[in-house]
Amino acid sequence: MHAPISNPLALVAELTHRCPLHCVYCSNPLELTARSRELSTASWARVLREAAELGVLQADFTGGEPLARPDLTEIIRAARAAGLYASMITSGLPLDEKRLDELVAAGLDHFQLSFQGAEEEAAREFSGTRTHAQKLRVAEWVKRHRIALTLNFVIHRQNLHQLEDMIALTEKIGPGRVEFAHVQYYGWAFANRERLLPTREQLDRSLEILKKAEERLRGRIKVEYVVPDYYAKYPKPCMGGWGRKVILVKPDGDVLPCHAANVLPGMTFENVEKRSLKQIWEESDAFQKFRGVDWMPDLCRTCDRRDQDFGGCRCQAFLLTQDAAATDPVCSLSAQRGVVDAILRDVNRSNAAAPEAAAPEPEWLYRPNPA
């Protein structure tokens, strides 16, 4: 028996895979969607209306870089006309003050600005571009408007030592919210995992710093952080459960339950040009596949936590065990937790015993641009 289907609350709209940055931990799939296959403005407007009718409250515009779409202003206007909250996550370029004014006038509610480090040099290494100075300018422009500003720092082994500088930079800019998100290991980050995973010691130290900042800034800046789940005892409730809260539309209109679901073998995804968002959400094989508890292995189906973490992340289960229907192996109860522990042992051993010079670090694999 299938559980009753709830309606999604958030639409993640991946408007394009084009991006001026080339981050080594990009959450986009390794196979990027070409520009020629991107949805038109009119199709996005229809998707946004269908999302609102389905009960979605918020549209999160992302990419790639959403600013790479020249019609972003029209798309945001369409989101507001449909009654949605309009949020975008961006690297802050290409953008000037005039275009920002237009986005705000179109109804943009929330501007999330990503940072790759506390200063230009670190940011350049991880993103393959010089963008830090532009981001500082953009933050100042955003603050002149009455819209929400969130700073989003992506943190990992190679920039964790800058955490206190990142907090200081945050205080100087003064947004309403800041997110410190440890890299999660999918897509490009999975390919670069050996260089990105922090050691246990680094992680503990970073959590101490973040907890203190959270306390100190309470009531001024809301501090949120995401821990790398390889170190967790239980898996994260990925996307709030498969097909429960979030619906994601790719640049070409394919509809997915999460960013990374196209790594899963044997899945077919339906497209907004062929069926309505409601039909896809309620009936498509991809959304039914891991919805509810019927698909779960016994360990999860009989677990008290099944309604808290929903068996964890399907993509992670597949990437680490080659079985998308396995318990997420970061779970300490999983028979396959050993896979994760072995990775952590390597990271902690090599970094503790042989700092810097000993073995050369593997080379970064930079994310390119799609055709």
Partner: protein, 92 residues
Amino acid sequence: MTPELTKRPRLAPGCRLNEKSQPSRVLLMPERALRLNGPSLEIVERCDGSHTIQQIVADLQKLYSKAEPQKVQQDILGYLERLQEQRALDFE
């Protein structure tokens, strides 16, 4: 920290109520939406930067005249404080 009664709460930048025409009213904010009903909606609708907390308390005490007035004030102060910590409100 409990806010002073003379402060005027105002929804923070990027936080707003959804349209009146929608079936249920929610407070929309970055990465979150808060369902509002009865008293919470009455309170948030008055967080416009012109009502003082004192005025909001007086209004709600009138609307919910069967409730203990002191308790109404306490609940409102607690609610406003939580919204402010979520950065959904500024006290002006």
